[in-house]
Symmetry: C2
Subunit: 159 residues, 2 copies
């Protein structure tokens, strides 16, 4: 039942016609996108980005965790990005969940899965964490959006 064989075959087809052999390591548009792992989001297509344009960071919930801040610090200081877009989305599994029910589903206790009650506020909190992080300079930009998985449309939360 593994998906691995299919994926290796599909990748061989991708590589056979690979059209981007010499992209620079530094994102061309000096941009980082922080969004959710959700399977219904294609960040490049939804934001009109091409391969090579932007760093893309994804975890459960588009939460600006310490791991995201570690990644953004490297994105900026080593690879020259100048701003981050935090993109939450409608229908997120963490939106409106309680940590107790998530712990019960996973079968553990005392793990914080970082659910949130208010989607816009979660995005704003992510933007705040970027703005206040000692790992990023004040000039590093941050803005927040909600992506609607049923329409493909991005709504501005905070700019």
């Amino acid at each position: 039942m593994s998906a691995r064989d299919d994926i290796l075959e599909a990748n061989a087809r991708y590589a056979a016609t690979f059209a981007h052999p010499e992209l620079p390591r530094e994102p061309r548009r000096r941009l980082a996108v922080v969004t959710c792992m959700d399977a219904r989001i294609d960040p490049l297509a939804a934001l009109g980005l091409e391969l090579g344009d932007a760093h893309v960071l994804r975890n459960a919930g588009a939460i600006v965790t310490d791991d995201v801040l570690r990644s953004l610090a490297l994105s900026h200081a080593v690879l020259g990005t100048r701003e981050a877009l935090v993109v939450g989305h409608t229908g997120c599994g963490l939106h409106g969940a309680s940590n107790e029910e998530l712990c019960a589903a996973v079968g553990v206790s005392a793990v914080d899965f970082l659910p949130f009650a208010d989607l816009d506020e979660s995005v704003r909190e992510g933007v705040r964490r970027i703005r206040e992080s000692p790992l990023l300079p004040d000039a590093f930009g941050a803005s927040g959006y909600v992506y609607d998985v049923s329409t493909g449309r991005l709504r501005v939360v905070t700019i």
Copy 2:
């Protein structure tokens, strides 16, 4: 110099022809992909995946951090994925870097940016962390790969 206006315009075009209004929240192929934020990687295209097929997790280095394990636990227990592919890549900024130089670049001390000396070993370590995590059952699969950003080709590290 902000990229935001361009992105909102591009998103309006994307939404105008949006073709996926009713994708299920559960990834169709019951798959999660863990890879790097690197701008040269398009995980869906490179692995032959369609929108809705897989969760995609990305951070600096494709490192299986606690945040990645939190996300994978939710991916499995709440949204039904059954395996993860850990995909490192050639030319990663964390490969061969020292933490001292990364701290100096960011302008901080005593932050672990998680550089690694050996690419294949970093991928194997990520697979091990998934296999050994108390947040995931033994039956949850994990395999490791290296993606070559100059050829588009995926190489198996550990299956």
